[in-house]
Symmetry: C2
Subunit: 302 residues, 2 copies
């Protein structure tokens, strides 16, 4: 394993990819590997990019990568994709818009499947972040659709959370905005050349005036047209301002508390075997027992 | 408590609403109440309505309620809304499109907040379903945005899962479709008068031909224009065909297995106190310890 650790630390793409598969598939050796890699982590900055479907997140991420590459950074991209059965979880780089970066050995791209996982997605993502961090990536971009709680949790676990919105979406999207309003550190209005960009800006400002962040940070609103590369440098400036000005340590601690709890939850769940679980389900479905007393019995036993 | 149980069972809206708040806020008496109500459940049919933002789910639900009311059914509507801070979790009926049903004592409407919950959303929703079931609702409609894993889980926990799509959405939406393809029992093409409805139909058919359901059910695709009430009766027919033709018992058992596991997870998490959690987070953030060994220590202790 020492050789593997060394190879990962030297940034060897093939070793990192193999380790990522081990981690994603939750193979037994994954935990040992991560334990060994952990001391070499903490150097990377993670940027969580979230927003509703159709906001142009993938295009924006591709442009951010271009900008960061011009600064000669090593970059990891994790796309958390709710499409397991079709894109496949283990395919290295399957996003059309990222194509220009595939040949670049300093950009590590990976799509993660989120379907069929029943929780643990945030944990698995953050394990991959640790791997890329140990592998020498300076910046790790996590792209996730910002609608479900799991996905919002992933965005929140990043060092900096960027919310991407576009003008002229329906009122379901308004709801989404409200839901993730509190966790965004930077707002991006993408496709800012479309009608309605000004109105969206006012709406965000109005909602921000209602929010009260404990850390005192006032999230900036950056307009961009990602498809033309306009405004991506401003996004990075905003991200860096947040990291420079804010009490970063509080965020790091809060994130670790969330992660540790989630890891504990996951491991505990394994204590009920499949046979026992299904026998219990049958008792409940037939109304012979109620679910609450079964769970209490399990709690006493474990 | 006997009086409260009796009132709920008689369908008293005020008692049901009060009990719903108790359950949503996870007050200590909630579990006792649910344990007492449980023997009186099992009569209601739950329909999970899911789909991407902007698919017109709320309009469709309002129309379904109208159709079901014409059959003189008692109906519960649970809207799982990713917007806690602005709509508020405990407000009885805050959806504009449902307005025509607010005065109707046989329609119980409730919006649930999903933000800031950190898991447990599916559990909480299904606890409310049990309450409404015991309260004499024949049909319980659960509306949820079908993007995140939590929201997909909620839709899956219903007796019948309906996926609502609309023509002409971007390719992020394609991804969403793929992600929830396997759990949908009925497909609805809403706004079927828009250009692209035919293409969407072909796309769904193509994807369905790739899927392999173990129960042999072939999900029908229903076209509708919810805003004009067109096609909603066909949706109910499709829902009833699924219930009549399928091995319903398998689904019920699988759902209870999922729920029991989730309930167990949630309760177990409470065993690590906040102080301990934050002390551990600090050790990890400072790299004094790795998260994996901390979780293993907790597992040995609990």
């Amino acid at each position: 394993m020492t050789t593997l650790i060394d190879r990962i630390r030297s940034g060897d793409v093939r070793s990192i990819a193999r380790a990522a598969t081990t981690i994603e598939n939750r193979r037994p050796e994954a935990e040992k590997l991560l334990t060994r890699l952990f001391p070499f982590t903490g150097g990377a900055v993670t940027i969580g990019i979230t927003g509703p479907p159709g906001a142009g997140k993938s295009t924006l991420v591709a442009q951010l990568v271009t900008t960061l590459r011009a600064e000669n950074r090593n970059i990891g991209v994790l796309a958390v994709d709710p499409t397991s059965p079709y894109t496949g979880g283990a395919i290295l780089g399957d996003r059309i818009r990222m194509q220009e970066h595939y040949g670049d050995p300093n950009v590590f791209i990976r799509s993660m499947a989120s379907r069929g996982r029943l929780g643990g997605l945030a944990s698995a993502t953050m394990d991959l972040v640790l791997l890329l961090d140990a592998g020498g990536m300076d910046t790790i971009v996590i792209e996730t659709v910002g609608v479900g709680q799991d996905e919002v949790d992933i965005a929140r676990l990043a060092d900096v959370t960027v919310l991407v919105l576009v003008p002229g979406m329906g009122d379901d999207v308004q709801a989404i905005k409200a839901g993730i309003m509190e966790i965004a550190d930077v707002y991006v209005i993408n496709k800012a050349d479309l009608p309605g960009a000004g109105r969206l800006q006012s709406e965000i400002e109005a909602q921000l005036s209602l929010a009260h962040r404990t850390d005192g940070w006032v999230p900036p609103i950056v307009q961009c047209v990602a498809s033309e590369g306009k405004g991506t440098a401003d996004i990075l400036t905003a991200v860096r301002s947040f990291r420079a000005s804010c009490s970063r340590q509080d965020r790091v601690l809060e994130n670790w508390a969330l992660r540790l709890r989630e890891m504990f939850r996951e491991r505990l769940t394994e204590r009920i075997g499949v046979t026992e679980l299904h026998a219990a389900a049958e008792e409940v479905a037939s109304r012979r027992r109620d679910p609450y007393s079964i769970v209490n019995e399990w709690l006493e036993r474990h």
